[in-house]
Symmetry: C2
Subunit: 554 residues, 2 copies
């Protein structure tokens, strides 16, 4: 039920999941989108490169979409932008660093030239359609993050972006408590707040502590120091640079995104690197090991990133040697643990002293824990609450936190992607849905790979394929050549010597039998071959390869 002059809020990505954040605020005929992220596929998405939000709703309402506001430059907030703009070219609004990172992506996709990028900051005020929008500074594991405030005729909507309350921030980008309090005091109709660490009690430690541990490790290290961390955590990079400077070390950057972020961040003044500190890998070998530090990507165990390559001596010009120190300045995101431990093992084998694991103090989260989430809820004091940016259990825990602060259970909406919360005359309800889901990116194809292709890839990955080719005469259906059986990914003789021969005999038998009954029905012939060979193969191997019968007619 759609009410004119009503406020509608929903997610196209980012709820019931971590990743591909995309939120929509619609008032009447004005649609504003917040963020457009991507998500990395897990191993069940065979051959898929990236997952982005399904934007069918926005395409169906394209004339109403006024702009895309980007809260900060993390992949799960900007990774989908190139694919979005290809289909719907609308103005972008973001802070300087955020747009710097977005521009880099657009350049890769050859879209920068046609895009409209509008730089904003925490004091900006913009109007998109009938929506008045302002911002407030938050603090996260990347600089230049904003929360967003929508002044609508129905009331004020606040979207927090990602945040923690780091009260001793590394570059003085503090969360703006005064502005948040003012917003809350004026009255907030509905708050959308991120739920990543809603399961964690307490207060997330300040980034400043990591710097102390880094300095200690750099000082104790007798040889080279390698630090692997998220390239986007510019504060962390600053602290590594500071620790290197303190211990008279030159710094090598390894990994494309590390090089890019350092360049963009230092050009824009977010990162201060002493003159002459950065050196190339080849130069590092001329120096005493105690004068060298390396900053690299790959802290999540990504097999193609710098740390993995270092762990298998994959760089010609720089290698981890016995006595070097390697610091993993990150904790593995669920799903990445095995990749990380594999790399840690390899680094140990190379003789490195490896500092890894959650107890080392070498990493703090960029997301607020329970006390900070309660702090945000207390500052904003919303009438309605929609927890976002989290898997179901995180949204659920966030709801429990809100209830503990006195927000009524019926005023809290746990929504899945596509569930619309409508607001009118201070009432809110969630009844209707809009199209939403995942669009899979594989190579150049966006959205063509769906259930059928994935199902086939899964089948092929488990037991391979057996192709059964036969050539028959068009005139009388007589078999002229074959059946020939060719397999890939199925079995490897000699354990199964005779298996394919017997299967060939069965195929021929099946063809002969079915052809007598009915020459023309190809589907019946193919199905018959699949069943007879499939049954035989399963009985003898307990494997079910995909069976692909092909009948050529001449």
């Amino acid at each position: 039920m759609s009410v004119t002059n009503a406020l509608s809020i929903f997610a196209l990505g980012g709820v019931y999941e971590i990743g591909k954040n995309m939120y929509v605020i619609q008032y009447d005929d004005d649609i504003v989108v917040i963020d457009c992220g991507s998500k990395f596929p897990d191993e069940s998405y065979l051959g898929i490169d990236l997952i982005i939000p399904d934007i069918t709703y926005l395409l169906e309402n394209r004339e109403k979409v006024r702009g895309l506001i980007i809260t900060h430059g993390h992949e799960d907030h900007i990774g989908g932008i190139p694919y979005f703009l290809k289909q719907l070219n609308i103005p972008l609004y973001g802070t300087r660093l955020t747009l710097g990172l977005v521009a880099e992506k657009l350049k890769e996709h050859h879209l920068l030239h046609d895009s409209e990028l509008n730089t904003i900051h925490s004091d900006s005020e913009i109007t998109l359609g009938s929506l008045q929008i302002s911002f407030f500074q938050t603090n996260h594991s990347i600089p230049d993050c904003l929360g967003v405030v929508f002044d609508t005729p129905e009331g004020t909507v606040v979207h927090t972006g990602d945040f923690k309350f780091d009260l001793t921030p590394v570059n003085n980008q503090s969360p703006d408590l005064y502005k948040m309090a003012a917003i809350g005091q004026k009255g907030v109709l509905v708050l959308l707040s991120e739920s990543t660490n809603a399961e964690r009690s307490g207060f997330t430690p300040s980034e400043i502590h990591v710097g102390e541990h880094l300095k200690e490790a750099f000082t104790k290290a007798k040889q080279r120091v390698f630090v692997s961390t998220f390239a986007s955590n510019v504060y962390r990079l600053q602290q590594v640079i500071d620790a290197a400077y303190l211990t008279n070390r030159k710094l090598v950057l390894l990994g494309r995104s590390m090089v890019n972020v350092v360049r963009i961040a230092s050009e824009q003044g977010y990162l201060y690197i002493p003159e002459g500190m950065l050196i190339e890998a080849e130069e590092a070998n001329q120096l005493d090991p105690s004068q060298v530090a390396v900053l690299c990507t790959g802290s999540q165990g990504e097999p193609n990133a710098a740390l993995a390559r270092l762990s298998t001596s994959g760089y010609r010009h720089i290698k981890v040697r016995p006595g070097d120190t390697v610091i993993l300045s990150a904790t593995p995101i669920p799903g990445n643990e095995r990749n990380v431990t594999r790399i840690v093992d390899n680094l140990f084998i190379l003789g490195a002293k490896v500092i890894y694991g959650s107890g080392t103090g070498m990493h703090v989260s960029g997301h607020g824990s329970q006390e900070e989430l309660k702090l945000m809820l207390t500052l904003m004091k919303p009438t309605y609450f929609i927890p976002i940016h989290g898997e179901y259990r995180m949204l659920q825990q966030h709801r429990i936190l809100a209830e503990s602060l006195g927000i009524e259970t019926e005023n809290i909406f746990i929504i899945n992607n596509g569930d619309v919360v409508d607001f009118h005359n201070h009432e809110a309800w969630q009844e209707r849905k809009v199209p939403a889901g995942s669009t899979l990116v594989d190579g150049l194809g966006i959205g063509d790979v769906g259930t059928v292709i994935l199902r086939d890839r899964k089948h092929l990955s488990e037991d391979g394929i057996l192709v059964v080719v036969v050539t028959r005469s068009k005139t009388d259906g007589k078999i002229l050549s074959g059946p020939d059986l060719i397999s890939r990914g199925f079995v490897f003789a000699p354990e199964f010597e005779g298996l394919l021969e017997e299967a060939t005999r069965i195929a021929a038998q099946t063809l002969a039998t079915l052809s007598e009954e009915n020459v023309q029905q190809w589907n019946r012939l193919k199905q018959g071959i699949r069943e007879s060979i499939g049954q035989y193969l399963y009985t003898n191997t307990k494997r079910r390869p995909m069976i692909l019968p092909i009948i050529m007619e001449v």
Copy 2:
């Protein structure tokens, strides 16, 4: 260099990895094997069911193999036994519960009838060839565990099996400190000690604490309680039964291995279940929810196990309902985290109160932490030390612990599978290797799936396959039918409409061109098709399906 009358020790599985434990003690012409486990494949082993140790060395020396001693009944110590016995049928030695679980496996593989199972206990003394073997009781997360002591002419060899030092054990199966001290006092040449928790400081908490937390949760729960845990942890099962009994609940068992272990363990007296307590799932629905408890498998997030099925309402007769309590009495082994969080989310969505995560006290490890590993080293006071049962970094940490107790670095051997440590006249060295590795089990095939098959499956899983079929005349090479292109797992129109048509045209073109040059060389023709089509497809899709050209001749 092989010395007669010398002692040799090596692993065929279980070092540089967790899983498929298999250790070999050889004195002269007598070989005794300790354990024969299996390992579950990670996602890179496409289609593989199980990984077992490569026993080439034992097959090449089959006349010397005297017996297989099994330290305890966990899969990573017994999972490979059926496959081993199929190739080399030797006597097995194990405790009552251990052999009970092994017999269950052998029955499934139709091997029980021909196997020789010898029951031993901690006071047994056996002679295998010239090796005198005795045992000592240890404590682990399954009853009836033993350490093994070999009295050899070169000196005493001790193998700890898996252990912790739980000094308040649930069923009074205490670690036998007196016997361990006596063994150490007599003098130990070399100790093989398990390294699973070598990275963890402190002392692993006692199992008894879990029982306290279980009782508390069972008492607080107003409706049904579901507990998911390892079926083999009979102590944990006992504590769940005790908590259910305390709160007047009947108990349902879900999951085949849970039903099996409960049966075997209670038959043998390791598990005490009050009369009439066990009920079927259907009966549970007749009772008040506060009188029902369920004990199920699947605590590692295994997609086909009970917990996963419950989380998706996959059981007809029993469902998780709002207000039910679900306790995950296990912590995810690295690699399993995402499967577990997916299940937790689904249980939350069903409205359950889910108790999960490491801070809940609902699980303690069965492996000793650093202080216990030091305690074992101190009791045994070996001259030489070989850390086993761990990935590289765990073996490395265990070495550091041993060094801190005064064992000389050069007397500690970190070995990979196949590295042999030889002992003679109180000297030890590691120079030679024996064949060792992984044998992959896929359906009925043992060892046939290797690099080629896995590589093909990986290729198929990423971009699918494109079959190119052509029928030619035997006499003049003229094309009679085709080329026809059939794809699976590659692209799905309409985004790529015209792609396969153009690829067909290119295939025909390539055939025509190459045929003119050389009619007969099929490999050249096929390679030409692969290259021309592959290039075209990659340029237009950035995907590289496997291309399988098939030429039929009539």
